[in-house]
Amino acid sequence: MAAKKSVTIEINSEIRDALIEEGARDAYKCYQCGKCSSICPWFQVGTYEFPVHRLGEETLLGLLASSEEKDELAREVDKIYRCVGCEACIDQCPLGVNIPKILRAARRILVDFGSYPETLKSVVQKLRNVANPLGESPERRGDWSSELNVPNYDSRLEYLYFSGCLPAYDVRLKKVANATVRLLQLAGVTFGILGEKENCCGEAVRRIGAEKVYQELTKRNIEVFNAVGVKKIITTSPHCYTTFKKEYPDFGGVFEVFHITQILARLIVEKKIVPQKAFKKKVVYHDPCTLGRQNSIYEEPRIVLRSIPELELVEVENFNHNLSVCCGAGSGGLWQDWQRDERIAEVRVNQLLATGAEVIAVACPYCLQMFEETIKSMGKTTPVLSVSEILYEACGEVF
């Protein structure tokens, strides 16, 4: 006789202990105020219920990813992978509960069991095999710079410029790397790149839950950095920045890390870059979660944009600085296939466009790619440019 269906739950201490072991300890901090749920970008999407405040409790009861029923487990997996790691919840949580870390614990378990979204599996596979999420050949990682006369890094140069995966391979984002390099050259900064020796920083794969792949990439990068004597790193992406700065030291990799906007702002203040050509447009700056909320870099990109003649910088009212809303690409979100009406990027693009801006300025490759695709799918044409690109254009060069 089949067992009677029951709605009563019991505490599953085995799952709870496994989650705690994988880093979900913050669940004990949560006192269930619920503030996280309405600060989460999913609240604004409005078509998918993502009960952030329940995740701590679900951890402690051992309910997270505990179902043995196929459809229900699929729903659970989908839920666990909805978090885009924007950390808006941590920013507002009275107790600083790290919800993304709680979910990462669940993700690690799911990755171990191979029960996670297929698109992400393919990304993890590519990172394991060719150290970039696009599946491109590692030998061609430095090709983007072939016409730019950028030396390979050696210890006589001040900075390593770490382009990151998307700017190295993606046709659109190569332009960002190009602009960056030319600006640095223009200002007389000495720097080099790693070319084919560069690997993905691993930030995204760690947040997807594939900790082993992350650690392999990390160790490989640290070895390469140390072998050529890297001391200071400039990154295009806030994601590379954050993992180099906050996570690599745990693996013995201690470097001085800068996001490109920090370097550009300094060069402008020091008058080593003086933009002279007018950029006569209304520009809205989007604070990337990983740069702003997670690393408190709010002013530098704005310093750069404000230095440009005739550029009118506008803000998204109510949703700027630490209250900025994610583009939806973090923690694996870039590769997720959510339904059209369940896209965080669309919420954000609407907020950005509502300012009447003619150009959206970003400081993160993920945001750039997310917004461009979203704007296109919305049938709109507003250009999305990186802060580096706008500055480069204002310095008199045109692509």
Binding site: Y31, Q32, C33, G34, K35, C36, S37, S38, I39, C40, F43, G46, E49, P51, V52, H53, R54, Q92, C93, P94, L95, G96, N318, N322, L323
Partner: protein, 646 residues
């Protein structure tokens, strides 16, 4: 040198015995040189415990006693009295603290026992060299100073003054009354705040025994418990109070308009002003930061009361005790950008809403929202704004918000019968007499909706607001459209408290509230003798608790005054005049002016009535001439030696 020492080890129930093997300690200590008796008991502080000590002293002719138990700050007085009863000098006693300094912080019984043994042996070595001491006594100035004239300060002043002692009541603003004067009705009985407060204000203002200094600040406090010298700066109101008759003609002509603090910016006042019509003293004051000295007020004042040249006055007086009743402030609304704090006019704090409810407020008690004066048909009340938020704001519960938001909702509903009050809450904390009953009654009768969930955002929406939250009961994301929002921002100590605490040399806790001497047993005394605490200066609390604490502080002061003299612990500095070279390093290091240079002899003496035994001069003395009684260098060295095992 004491050679017949008795050692008594307390179990303190399981507090000590769980981590210290008391029985084996008794065996070990019994054999220690000079110990003629060692015994344990479950609760040494109890009556049978004390009797046991007394009997053994008599029976075995014990000369000095070590009691191994809890911290000496808890029971040393009790045990001193006990051994005094059987004729032993009370200062031939040492407490070996094996609870706070040992059992409570250790888990392992072997380690705990080992450490307890060391602490006890150190106590034995110390008591061996103790001398019989006599505490000194000195007379007390039977006048009290109360700092802050809100309900706490007023109540404490009245209690002391009605007992026949003089009170110096100092208030920083031009009127007494504090925050309670701003409130509409008070929970849970809904008495009108002004109606129950103003009679007390009048009584304090006219009391023969109360010298009231409003618009005044503490300039300096010196001396010690029983005999403080204080300097008060009475700021010039630029008006001769003896001439001002409160007619308000000056206000009409004053051209300078400012935000009215009493209404928290919801109304305006002039540079010449009276905080509120029921102010005590009922006089006008010129806000000199904004006055342009145009002279218009001088022209209209028939009494000739206005005088721009009137200077600040410095008042010097002596008091025996000081009650600190400096009250609270609300944590700034501007800190909550997620709620549009400081940006949206219709997002107000609890005190602002009190003013909107108050019959004497800017809207005469009609609830009208600040932005456009419309009557709000739906008002959201949000609790725990800044409280219980250790990560970004303040860690503690502000205690009164749950109750006052409920009261707000109820009064709002009374003023706007078709209005809809919605309270957002994490928990509802209604600990207090009649509080839970008030909650149940109000929720049911007044149709108050509670949403369990702390909002994430408040966003402007047309001319209203929309609140984003998760309703945690139905597990649904919810958007609540409303006309205004009240944030129950946290209670924080008054801004001036940090500076005052520094000036008075009084401890504050991490949040800046004044620290009480013991959280349970000495809740109204500060850690510095002679200073007492009342009201929100010590921690957030409601009016009943504030009044109770104010009366308690007053009774502590009265206890001191009725005794008339103070006994000080005799562990003060003493000088070996043979060794003293007269270098006077001690004079500079003494915070109490207790060290005085004797020119004729070329040595520095100790004025025993001023010395508090803080030890500063002892550390400063290069020759070792200055020693602390019953804690001299020889005793300290022996204690260290036995602890480190030589």
């Amino acid at each position: 040198m004491m050679n017949r020492i008795g050692v008594f080890i307390c179990h303190c129930g399981r507090n000590i015995a769980a981590t210290v093997d008391v029985k084996s300690l008794v065996q070990e200590i019994s054999k220690y040189p000079g110990v003629i008796h060692c015994e344990d008991y479950k609760y040494m502080c109890s009556d049978p415990g004390q009797n046991l000590i007394k009997e053994k002293i008599k029976e075995k002719n014990i000369e000095a006693v070590v009691i191994a138990a809890c911290t000496p700050s808890l029971h040393s007085t009790t045990f001193r009295r006990a051994i005094g009863h059987v004729g032993l000098n009370p200062f031939l006693l040492e407490i070996a603290n094996i609870r706070e300094q040992c059992s409570w912080i250790h888990k392992d019984i072997t380690d705990g026992t080992k450490k307890a043994g060391a602490i006890i042996r150190a106590g034995i070595e110390k008591v061996r060299l103790n001398e019989s001491l006599m505490p000194s006594k000195f007379p007390v100035t039977k006048r009290a100073m109360v700092i802050g004239a809100g309900i706490a300060g007023i109540q404490a002043s009245l209690d002391i003054a009605n007992s026949g002692y003089e009170v110096v009541l100092v208030e920083k603003s031009p009127s007494i009354g504090g925050h309670m004067a701003q409130l509409s009705e008070t929970f849970p009985t809904l008495d009108c705040s002004q109606c129950i407060l103003t009679p007390k204000m009048v009584e304090a203002g006219h009391h023969k025994k109360i010298r009231l200094y409003t618009y005044s600040e503490i300039e300096e406090v010196s001396g010690t418990v029983g005999n403080f010298k204080v300097k008060i700066r009475k700021k010039s109101p630029s008006i001769h109070y003896d001439k001002c008759n409160g007619c308000a003609d000056c206000v009409e002509v004053c051209p300078i308009t400012l935000e009215n603090e009493f209404d928290l910016g919801l109304s305006a006042r002039k540079a010449i002003y009276r905080p509120f019509p029921q102010a005590i003293p009922n006089k006008f004051t010129i806000d000199r930061r904004s006055c342009v000295q145009c002279g218009l007020c001088i022209k209209v004042c028939e009494q000739g009361a206005i005088d721009y040249e009137l200077r600040d006055e410095i008042i010097e007086t002596e008091v025996g005790a000081i009650i600190i009743a400096t009250g609270y402030e609300l944590y700034p609304t501007e800190k909550f950008s997620e709620y549009g704090g400081g940006k949206y006019k219709d997002v107000v704090n609890g005190l602002q809403f009190e003013r909107l409810l108050s019959a004497s407020g800017p809207t005469q008690g009609e609830v009208r929202r600040p932005s456009d004066n419309k009557i709000p048909k739906r008002v959201a009340f949000i609790s725990c704004v800044g409280s219980r938020d250790p990560e970004h704001h303040l860690p503690y519960c502000s205690k009164i918000c749950c109750m006052y938001l409920l009261k707000h909702a109820l009064l709002y509903k009374e003023r706007v019968p078709d209005g809809e009050p919605i309270i957002f809450t994490i928990d509802i904390r209604t600990a207090g007499k009649g509080y839970e009953e008030f909650f149940i009654r109000a929720k049911e009768n007044e149709h108050i909706t509670y949403i369990r969930g702390k909002p994430g955002r408040i966003i402007k929406d047309g001319d209203g607001l929309v609140i984003w939250a998760e309703d945690m009961i139905t597990q649904k994301p919810i958007k609540v459209h409303c006309d205004m929002a009240v944030l129950a921002t946290a209670i924080t100590p008054s801004a001036e408290v940090t500076e005052l605490a520094r000036r008075l040399n009084i401890h504050t806790d991490t949040a800046g509230f004044f620290s009480e001497a013991h959280p349970k047993l000495r809740p109204v005394e500060s850690l510095v003798p002679g200073f007492f605490l009342a009201g929100c200066a010590q921690a957030p609390k409601d009016i009943p608790d504030t009044v109770a604490q104010a009366s308690a502080a007053a009774s502590k002061v009265l206890e001191m005054f009725s005794r008339g003299e103070l006994q000080v612990e005799p562990f003060i500095a003493s000088v070996d005049e043979e060794l003293c070279a007269g270098c006077r390093l001690c004079v500079v290091s003494c915070p109490y002016d207790a060290r005085v240079y004797d020119k004729e002899k070329g040595v520095v003496r100790v004025q025993e009535s001023l010395c508090l035994g803080c030890g500063a001069c002892i550390a400063a003395c290069p020759s070792g001439a200055t020693q602390q009684k019953n804690l001299n260098d020889q005793q300290l060295s022996r204690m260290v030696e036995v602890i480190i095992g030589c």
